[in-house]
């Protein structure tokens, strides 16, 4: 059997324990799919695989037990998934009958977001899809996830780029009855950014996380939602060498800035990646090039707006395994 493993890996298949047998990874941008797609996935698993699917940590599906020889037929069977979950959201796929065009940049995952969750500051599915449109197909090894609020249910802190929803709370003192529900709750579950002064509430913007808990707790709508903002946490990772949580890079920035920084990161990788290695993960490129270089290149052409703040120095930490 002659199989170009490099090629099939880029096509979202992998080399498995069993010779001649592969598994296919299916992307689900934003983790939300029309149930009609499940029929297609079921059919692939039953016709070509072993009749099971594995649900991946990135909110995709992996179909195991596919004979490598069947890859061309599987790719044809995958066409409706590419059409329904990629083309449909504006991702350009040149040829729907050849399977996934790249697998390096992983599925953009998302928490359930504001279509359901009361805490969410925005529609995470929509943003995940916008990001997918921006960065896929791409061979660079990058992990991105978006989460609706600082509860971070999707684990944005384990990603190269994690987007966390924020909202600017707006206060109308005339509506405040001084019940202190917002103050006590902010201290208990969030940042302690609020305190009472002359029977009314003061917010310390430096401490505020933009979680929106104060808005949720206020019985009179003295706190309401202002503009939507985002916090970007970057270069978190698992893996052997130096696992670590992502840390905050920018906060109180707009969606536009999130998208621009994300796009710029690909330019940074392009420029600094060590091409002598089979693959280099973006976090290690940033370690090598240094945060100031990354910072400068990532922020090129980015409007930070009046509230936007970017870190100059990030004490990443984590631990070294060597």
């Amino acid at each position: 059997m002659d199989i170009n493993t490099k090629k099939i890996i880029k096509n979202a298949y992998r080399v498995t324990k069993k010779r001649g047998v592969t598994a296919l990874r299916i992307r689900v941008p934003g983790g939300r799919l029309d149930v009609g797609c499940l029929d297609v996935i079921k059919n692939i698993a039953e016709t070509f695989g072993d009749g099971t699917v594995h649900i991946t940590t990135r909110q995709g599906f992996e179909v195991p037990g596919i004979p490598m020889a069947k890859i061309p037929q599987v790719n044809e069977a995958v066409a409706p998934l590419l059409a329904g979950m990629e083309s449909a959201i504006g991702v350009e796929i040149a040829d729907l009958n050849h399977g996934y065009p790249a697998a390096g940049t992983r599925n953009v995952s998302a928490c359930i977001g504001n279509s359901v969750c009361t805490f969410a500051s925005y529609n995470t599915t929509d943003l995940a899809r916008k990001i997918e449109r921006l960065i896929y197909p791409n061979d660079f090894h990058v992990k991105i996830a978006v989460t609706g609020c600082p509860n971070d249910c999707i684990k944005a802190h384990m990603q190269d780029i994690g987007v966390i929803g924020m909202v600017l709370p707006v206060y109308d003192a005339t509506r405040c009855i001084g019940c202190e529900a917002c103050v006590k709750n902010c201290l208990k579950v969030s940042s302690g950014a609020l305190n009472m002064s002359n029977y009314k509430v003061k917010r310390d913007h430096q401490r505020c996380l933009g979680c929106g808990e104060c808005v949720l707790k206020c019985p009179t709508s003295a706190w309401t939602r202002g503009e939507k903002y985002y916090r970007l946490v970057i270069m978190g990772r698992t893996g052997k060498r130096n696992p670590r949580l992502a840390r905050t890079f920018a906060r109180w920035i707009s969606e536009e800035a999130v998208l621009k920084i994300t796009a710029n990161m690909y330019g940074f990788i392009e420029k600094h990646i060590d091409r002598s290695l089979p693959k280099e993960h973006v976090g290690y490129i940033v370690d090598r090039a240094g945060l100031p270089v990354f910072r400068e290149e990532a922020l090129q052409g980015v409007g930070l707006g009046p509230l936007g703040r970017v870190e100059d120095y990030i004490p990443f930490g984590g631990y070294e395994n060597r």
Partner: protein
């Protein structure tokens, strides 16, 4: 007298009225709901028919227009004080039948409670005119029919918004103005005669019900968030705050601010009804006040059945459900006697 006005004429009417009146109605405030990408329906000033949110119940009642959440009573320096100026204009409030009945309750509390007349309330109330928005249907949680607040008589105007037009029934005072902007039309007011929720009110309440275990359930369910009382059109408790300005503590102002018997720290303020630490006791106090204590004093019930308390409770506690529980217990307790 009945008139029909198209949207443009109605806006002309509003513009004419606005020379003399501040005009308020329920409006949809985009993105101001507590959850992201949701709206808030609350009272705001309007200048056109389109701004009136007719199809959804407002989260907050119009009581805040006459009895503001925060109201400065006077400003003080070391040796004198001064009351803030009130707007010279009169006020028109577009509201539902139950809301008008709620103002009757507030009048009772602020204007007819023994010898006490609240001049701050009265100053605004005197100048207020209600334009009734006819209910096209009962909203979720409404039980106005049970409370007898579904009908109104003696209104200044009653409006039935429809496709691009409003049909109105108007009193003598406003008739000439409406005649100027609209065409005569037949208009017989329609009131809601049935709600999907109905409430049975207990006639007498045995003191055993106060100690009944039914209240314990609410101790574990209610989070004392205060939403039900803030949204209630008939809750009237307040607290006084003396503010000393930070940069000049010898000057300041006295404010009165809404208080809630359902919220921590407000128990002492609700009028000497004792210390109610657990939330079940608070619930009991609130329910009994709305459907029993007020009646003993004024001869009818405080609650107007608007259902806002149920609409806004994050714990899905039903006030009307609770009243019905009390009533069935009252029946049982009576049988036991």
């Amino acid at each position: 007298m009945g008139y029909v006005l198209d949207g443009q004429s109605f806006d002309g009417l509003l513009s004419q009225l606005s020379k003399e009146y501040l005009i308020y109605a329920p409006v949809r405030i985009s993105g101001k709901g507590a959850y992201s990408d949701t709206d808030l329906v609350a009272y705001g000033q309007i200048s056109s028919l389109d701004e009136i949110e007719y199809n959804e119940k407002s989260r907050f009642s119009p009581k805040e227009l006459i009895y503001p959440i925060t109201q400065t009573l006077f400003y003080f320096t070391e040796d004198e004080y001064k009351e803030p100026a009130v707007s010279q204009k009169s006020i028109i409030i577009f509201c539902r039948p139950c809301d008008v009945h709620a103002f009757r309750r507030l009048d009772e509390i602020f204007l007819k409670n023994g010898d006490f007349r609240d001049s701050y309330y009265e100053a605004i109330r005197r100048k207020t005119v209600f334009f009734i928005l006819e209910c096209a249907g009962s909203f979720e949680n409404c039980f106005c029919v049970s409370m007898g607040t579904n009908r109104v008589e003696g209104y200044a105007a009653l409006l039935r918004p429809g496709e691009g037009q409003v049909t109105c029934d108007v009193d003598e005072h406003f008739a000439p103005l409406f005649a100027r902007y609209g065409k005569p039309a037949g208009m017989t007011p329609r009131f809601i005669e049935e709600n999907s929720i109905s409430v049975i009110l207990p006639e007498e309440i045995d003191k055993n019900i106060f100690d009944h275990q039914m209240w314990q359930e609410y101790s574990s369910r209610c989070t004392a968030c205060g939403r039900c009382t803030v949204s209630c059109p008939t809750c009237s408790c307040f607290t006084m705050q003396d503010i000393f300005y930070e940069d000049n503590p010898r000057c300041g102002e006295r404010r009165r601010v809404w208080a809630s018997c359902m919220v921590d720290g407000f128990t002492e303020l609700a009028g000497g009804h004792g210390f109610r630490k657990d939330n079940g006791s608070r619930m009991r106090f609130k329910v009994m006040h709305k459907i029993y204590d007020f009646r003993k004093r004024f001869g009818y019930d405080m609650c107007v059945g608007c259902g806002r308390c149920d609409d806004v409770c994050p714990e899905y506690i039903s006030f009307s459900g609770c009243v019905n529980k009390v009533s069935s217990l009252a029946g049982e307790v009576k049988k036991d006697d």
